[in-house]
């Protein structure tokens, strides 16, 4: 009786196991084609803008793909005392009076990708950047940039990527000289708005 019971359970388990085994076998066969160590599923990019040190900014950007067509990019920057005058206005005006000492900056940029391959290929999106320059004599300049960007991320090989980003928009600067000694030729607080354009050429890593 025990043998019959064991045999029937054995047959039942075998029957239950066969389809699962077959399915597992099929999946196993296909897995070898899809197993690329996560390379095709890479959604993260850490990059740096190679041009920004020219204007006294060094930093890193992190971009994370969300779904097939969206990504969000955040950046953190350290402002260095070195600078060249910018081509388009008017931060030069303040720098000509006060040497910059340093500062910090952040950026936030959601990207909408043209194809279902985020964060690869072409994208567009708004970009907000904030920089706070510390000047000599305790004055500060806060810079707000709001641009519409077009960019392209090219994945090179297995780990590295190249990117470029163009943006046009509006820049608003707030000069705060309240902590600085009073000067006749500068107000204590001044705001200034202008058109702004942005170009970034960068390299990065993907993971």
């Amino acid at each position: 009786m025990l043998r019959v019971f064991c045999l029937s359970w054995g047959v039942a388990l075998l029957w239950m196991g066969i389809p699962t085994a077959l399915l597992a076998q099929q999946d196993e066969d296909l897995h070898k084609y899809f197993d690329d160590g996560g390379l095709s599923a890479r959604k993260n990019i850490v990059s740096t803008n190679l041009l920004s040190p020219i204007s006294g900014v060094v930093g890193l950007r992190y971009e994370r793909g969300i779904g097939k067509r969206f990504a969000i990019e955040v950046g953190a920057y350290k402002l260095i005392p070195f600078y060249l005058y910018e081509l388009i206005l008017p931060i030069n005006f303040y720098f000509s009076y006060f040497e910059p000492k340093g500062g910090w900056g952040i950026s936030l940029s959601p990207h909408v990708y043209f194809f279902d391959k985020a964060p690869e290929y072409h994208y567009m999106g708004p970009r907000y950047g904030f920089r706070k320059h510390s000047l000599q004599n305790g004055a500060t300049v806060a810079v707000h940039d709001l641009t519409i960007d077009y960019g392209f991320n090219a994945f090179l090989g297995k780990h590295f990527m190249f990117c470029y980003d163009l943006g046009v928009g509006y820049r608003r600067m707030i000069f705060d000289g309240s902590a600085a000694p009073a000067m006749s030729y500068l107000p204590r607080l001044e705001t200034h708005g202008s058109l702004y354009s942005f170009l970034s050429i960068g390299i990065g890593v993907m993971f």
């Binding site: 899809f34 690329d36 095709s40 194809f115």
Partner: protein, 523 residues
């Protein structure tokens, strides 16, 4: 003349006109976003039509593929997004077709660890348009660079009993040329496959065309470039054509070198005749690769595997100057009289249609792109405009013995700006009696009182656009008439996306800015 005879002629004229009249039946306009494009007509039968659509511009990376089913009146009845996945891995849609009553979707996955691209197949339920059944690997190719991953193509045999998948491997320039051939039967079961490595470098060989016969034998047409110098076809010929045959499940391999005396073969296509012989035809030149002096035909016997027939015919001066203005004609004839070489320029071989008797019909279209750049002196900004020219079509008939029977020209002028010629070119329709070409044209071009060589350009922007039906009979006589006006349907026909769906019907596709329209022309 007796009244009886007059009545008889009138009746013949009436019945004759009625009998050859083409009926056009249009469906409603489907509203959709401007960037949604039809990429293929997947299936058509009297009760329904299934098409594939995608977002994006033609020629660029496309995404968001979807299948749409329409009823017999072309009313949309179902739209299904295609998002093939295997576990968490998204697959790219490659192509979709119907075989033996079943729709199959082919999609690919690039494995960047192995540097290989795999082609998979999945069945599509014709009722729900959903993907069903297991995913099956069909083909694979290797690639060396992420942005040059090669590609897959397919073609059916004449009786649709076999389909060949061609996998174009893109390797480094100094590596041997490699490709894969995968022959499937009509139920997509593997028949045979072969990985081919040629003794030519990747940069020195290019496959231009491929075909499969009813027995599953595969033939490829390749261009072998000279070992040194440019590997692009421009100006002076630096290449030769090779035909590679794979018979007996790929075990029996033949290579044919195609040459025509001292002539340059400027274009060639291959196909399999109903008698199962390989036929190659194209154009040759004395000057270079941009011009054509005549046409040639080569037939390779199925049994002996030898070149059985090779013939060539030079276009005469009357044919070359056909549709020229009187001034152009005089100038060309004067040059010819002085013994100078006169050829036709910028013709692309579009199609080769094998005839039931072993002959073939060749079609070539004059196609070229001109780019005009202007620099604004105030800003220094240079703007370039691309003009896409699709002009006359040459039709050449080759008889069963392989001799050139007749050649004719169908005149048309289509020039468009920065659109890739989306509304230009033509679609051909073959019936038992005639060959038809359907294309967009300016309505004034149908006026018989037009001067010789005078043509009005078709423009998508004006309301003079008509869809013209050019009929070519068995003797090479061409007659043209307006099939319908684009203004009648408030959309513009896209000939490149129209398709002959059976022996008597042509599926028409027309586009408006934010919509599309389908129709059926019955012959």
């Amino acid at each position: 003349m007796h009244l009886k005879n007059i009545l008889g002629i009138c009746l013949w004229l009436f019945v004759g006109q009625w009998a050859i009249a083409q009926q056009v039946k249009w469906g409603p306009i489907h509203k959709e976003k401007a960037k949604v494009l039809i990429t293929d007509i997947v299936s058509h039968n009297p009760s329904q039509t299934i098409v594939m659509k995608a977002r994006g511009r033609l020629g660029f990376l496309q995404s968001g593929s979807q299948l749409e089913r329409m009823d017999a009146s072309f009313n949309s009845s179902l739209i299904m997004k295609l998002a093939p996945v295997f576990e968490d891995n998204s697959l790219d849609v490659e192509f979709c077709f119907e075989s033996n009553g079943q729709i199959y979707l082919f999609c690919s996955f690039a494995n960047h660890k192995l540097d290989k691209r795999f082609l998979f197949l999945q069945r599509v339920n014709a009722t729900s348009l959903k993907l069903e059944g297991p995913i099956r690997k069909i083909a694979e190719l290797s690639f060396a660079k992420r942005y040059r991953q090669g590609g897959f193509g397919y073609t059916f045999s004449r009786d649709s009993s076999h389909v060949v998948i061609y996998a174009n491997t893109e390797l480094r320039k100094n590596e041997p040329e490699k490709y894969g051939i995968y022959v499937l039967d009509q139920d997509m079961e593997d028949v045979w496959s072969k990985e081919v490595t040629l003794p030519y470098l990747e940069s020195r060989f290019a496959v231009e065309d491929f075909t499969v016969d009813n027995d599953g034998n595969v033939f490829l047409l390749g261009v072998k470039f000279q070992e040194k110098g440019e590997s692009k076809r421009r100006g002076t010929p630096n290449y030769e054509y090779r035909i590679l045959g794979y018979r007996e499940d790929g075990a029996d391999v033949e290579e044919y070198e195609v040459a025509l005396g001292g002539m340059f073969l400027s274009d060639m296509k291959i196909d399999v005749s109903p008698k199962r012989d390989i036929i190659c035809a194209g154009f040759y030149s004395e000057q270079g690769t941009f011009s054509i002096k005549g046409t040639y035909y080569i037939r390779i016997d199925r049994k002996t595997k030898e070149i059985e027939k090779m013939s060539a015919k030079e276009f005469d001066i009357d044919f070359i100057t056909m549709n020229f203005t009187q001034r152009q004609e005089k100038k060309a004839k004067r040059k010819a009289a002085k013994g100078k070489n006169i050829e036709l320029y910028e013709y692309d071989l579009r199609d080769i249609i094998p005839r039931a008797d072993g002959g073939a019909v060749l079609m070539a279209e004059q196609y070229y792109v001109t780019v005009i750049c202007r620099t604004d002196p105030r800003t220094g900004i240079t703007t370039c405009t691309n003009y896409y020219h699709y002009n006359d079509v040459i039709v050449v008939s080759i008889d069963k013995s392989g001799d050139i029977e007749w050649a004719t020209k169908v005149s048309k002028r289509q020039t468009s700006v920065n659109d890739g010629g989306y509304y230009s070119s033509y679609v051909s329709m073959v019936t038992n009696e005639k060959l038809y070409l359907v294309y967009n044209d300016h309505k004034k071009n149908l006026d018989p009182s037009l001067k010789q060589g005078q043509y009005y350009n078709f423009s998508v922007r004006d309301k003079n656009g008509v869809v013209v039906l050019a009929s070519i009979d068995g003797e090479g006589n061409v007659s043209r008439k307006a099939l319908f006006s684009n203004a009648e349907i408030t959309a513009i026909t896209v000939p490149k996306l129209c398709k002959q769906v059976n022996k008597k019907q042509l599926l028409m596709f027309a586009k408006v800015l934010k919509g599309s329209q389908f129709g059926l022309v019955s012959f």
